[in-house]
């Protein structure tokens, strides 16, 4: 086994393990952290494929930005995760059987001699001074210009949708206006009530006599 193969299998084992843990972890924060690990090992696979820019982008974008935000959200919102996970073990036998059968079928097809994946061989080594970023940039801005622009539109739609679904204009938001705060006077905050004096009510001798009328 070459060193590359060893790294590949090691990364794959960690990737699969963390993938499974994402859905089985009890604590949602742990699940999110396992997802981080999964992205991290996946970017290791990119490195093995000699696309170092994509590997770095995956870590920067997903681990650095998306997952950190995700963790914040998970920690901030108050969801009863035990309730969400109800029925997990009940449905596991059926779902698990289907998943295992599908996986076995896919493995059988992909490893069959007819598919002959070995015909593709290993990718050629790229030259040491080959620039991944340059090539990617050129492709994106020429051949793939149209899908690239569409991706931008997709992000715009995501922004519009997120705002449409979360912004509530009619509900008072809790922002403060410093000018108003400074201008506040005693009378705005404090109201002195004049009340007629009342005779002091004698409470019964025993403290448990709440239900009895005071004499």
């Amino acid at each position: 086994m070459s060193f590359q193969a060893f790294v590949f299998y090691a990364l794959s084992v960690i990737l699969l393990f963390s993938g499974v843990r994402v859905i089985t972890a009890k604590n949602p924060v742990h699940a999110a952290l396992f997802l981080v690990l999964a992205f991290f090992t996946a970017s290791g696979h990119w490195l093995l494929l000699q696309s170092e820019f994509l590997a770095i982008a995956l870590v920067l974008v997903y681990v650095g930005a998306v997952m950190v935000l995700f963790l914040f959200v998970v920690m901030m919102i108050d969801i009863d995760f035990d309730k969400l996970r109800e029925g997990f073990w009940k449905h596991l036998p059926v779902a698990g059987t289907v998943a295992v059968i599908m996986m076995a079928e896919m493995a059988l097809i992909l490893t069959s001699p007819e598919v002959n994946l070995s015909q593709y061989g290993a990718g050629a080594d790229v030259a040491a001074d080959y620039s991944n970023v340059k090539d990617l940039g050129r492709q994106i801005y020429t051949v793939y210009l149209y899908p690239f622009e569409l991706a931008a539109v997709l992000l715009l739609v995501a922004i519009v949708a997120a705002i449409a679904l979360t912004m509530r204009k009619n509900k008072p938001t809790k922002w403060v206006d410093p000018a108003e705060q400074v201008k506040v006077r005693r009378d705005d905050r404090l109201r002195v009530l004049k009340m007629a004096a009342e005779p002091r009510v004698e409470v019964g001798v025993s403290s448990s006599a709440d239900d009895k009328p005071a004499v």
Binding site: L110, V115, Y146, P147, L150, V153, A161, L165
Partner: protein, 482 residues
């Protein structure tokens, strides 16, 4: 490649739409609720402008641009024109409904137009990547639209189901596409077809990908056994949004299937034909049988959609130009019928009251005989009763199916259409012969567009030749060089 090589002309409608949506998006920020009609008017104006641009750039031959990722052919042109009409009609019908329910806001219009942009991208895509981008653009806008009534628990639930199942379907589609890429070495539809036909592709791997692609497509079309989301989404979404989902996206999905299966994977036709037969038969059976048990009209229409999608698949699976043009005709007629059906439900709903069950339309004839008559036209057309357009659409597909020797399939289709006629006629019976319940159906105002839409079903049923000829011509020209 330099900028001078870039031919933007074929993509002019898309570019214009994107610019217009961006303008509307910003302009809407400066309008208060009383002036929201300006947004509404601008949206309709945008649709008219796009239609004019599409008409003026319509060529009788396919034209590629953006490095072969964008195609403008007559099929795309005709379907785009139908989509503008469907979206415009949707906006007109839902105006009062949206006003009553407080979502007559800028986002409603911009998201609707963005979903239209997604559909146009799908229709004009000639590359698996752009097909996928268009699909996501459409889906993302629709997920948000379904959840637009934020205080409705049912709407939120429907949006969640739609989102999760839609993401699953997209995942399947992507996995299939990646296998296809592995097998043929390209994402370009023409290159894929060439590699598969020329035998340079890895056939087994391509077949493996095909299974996932067909499953993903069936999910998006709502064909059995991938139909579970359809009734819940149709039922849970506000009726105006159901109107949108049941309209133009079906046209886009039709072209989407044709582009992938007919233009890209035609060499594998003997394999996908069998899969589509199963999907079509199951959809027609389950859709029609389950619709009988529904008392909620929106759910009933959802199951009826499933059965109609089964019928549509029949036209695609025969794989002949006749079948495809019949399916295109069917898709356009189906959208017209669906718009009338949901349009009447929208018209009968008012502030604080949703018209959606069979009980709600009891005795509609006594209160408003014109609305009842239009509903009757839509129901008869969906059931395929001559002389309405639905009959001719079904007939054209059956003829194409029989022409390729699949007589048994045609017989199954007819039998299930007959079963389906039961629940369509039940709607008519409820409107005409039952007494109104405690809350009699109410509708005020005149419905010029709705009337025109319903009468179009009658007109196209009596004179189907013109539209059918357009469909046949468009299909012929779109497939001539590819």
């Amino acid at each position: 490649m330099s900028w001078a090589d870039l031919n933007l002309m074929p993509a002019m409608p898309e570019i214009a739409l994107l610019c217009a949506v961006s303008v509307i998006l910003v302009l809407d920020l400066f309008l208060d609720d009383a002036k929201r009609s300006i947004t509404y008017g601008l949206s309709l104006l945008t649709l008219a402008g796009c239609a004019a641009l599409t008409l003026s750039t319509l060529n009788p031959y396919p034209e590629l641009t953006f490095s072969g990722m964008f195609i403008a052919d007559p099929m795309a042109g005709v379907i785009k024109l139908a989509m503008y009409a469907a979206v415009a009609v949707t906006l007109i019908y839902s105006r009062q409904y949206a006003l009553d329910r407080g979502f007559f806001r800028g986002e409603f219009f911009t998201l609707t137009l963005f979903s239209l942009l997604g559909m146009m991208v799908m229709v004009s895509a000639h590359h698996l990547l752009t097909l996928y981008m268009g699909l996501e653009l459409l889906s993302l806008a629709l997920y948000a639209l379904v959840a637009l009534q934020r205080d409705s628990a049912r709407g939120t639930e429907a949006a969640m189901k739609y989102f999760v199942l839609g993401a699953l379907a997209s995942g399947m589609l992507l996995y299939g596409m990646s296998m296809l890429y592995g097998a043929t070495g390209s994402l370009d539809i023409a290159v894929i077809a060439k590699a598969l036909a020329g035998g340079t592709a890895n056939q087994t791997l391509a077949l493996f990908g095909l299974v996932f692609i067909v499953a993903g497509l069936a999910f998006k079309l709502g064909a059995v056994p991938f139909h579970m989301w359809v009734p819940d989404v149709y039922h849970g979404a506000p009726t105006a949004i159901t109107l949108l989902i049941g309209g133009a996206p079906k046209l886009a999905a039709f072209v989407f299937v044709v582009r992938i299966l007919m233009q890209g994977l035609e060499p594998l036709m003997m394999h996908w034909q069998g899969m589509l037969v199963i999907l079509a038969v199951l959809s027609m059976a389950l859709g029609n049988l389950t619709a009988i048990a529904q008392t909620n009209l929106k759910r009933m229409f959802a199951y009826s959609t499933i059965s109609h999608m089964g019928f549509l698949l029949l036209g695609i699976l025969v794989g002949t130009p006749e079948g495809l043009s019949a399916a295109m005709f069917y898709a356009i007629i189906y959208v017209l019928m669906s718009l009338v059906g949901f349009g009447i439900l929208v018209a009968l709903s008012r502030a604080g009251y949703e018209c959606e069950t069979l009980d709600d339309i009891k005795g509609l004839n006594k209160h408003n005989s014109w609305l009842a008559f239009m509903m009757l036209l839509a129901m008869f057309s969906m059931a395929g009763i001559p002389p309405l357009a639905g009959f001719y659409a079904k007939f054209a597909i059956l003829k194409a199916v029989v022409d390729v020797g699949l007589v048994w399939l045609a017989i199954i289709a007819v039998v299930f259409s007959l079963i389906g006629a039961f629940y369509y006629l039940r709607v008519v019976k409820t409107m005409y012969f039952d007494d109104a319940g405690e809350v009699p159906p109410q509708a005020n105002g005149t419905y010029w567009v709705l009337s025109a839409n319903a009468l179009a079903l009658l007109a196209l049923g009596v004179f189907p030749d013109k539209l059918l000829a357009i469909c046949i011509e468009a299909m012929k020209q779109s497939f001539q060089t590819l």
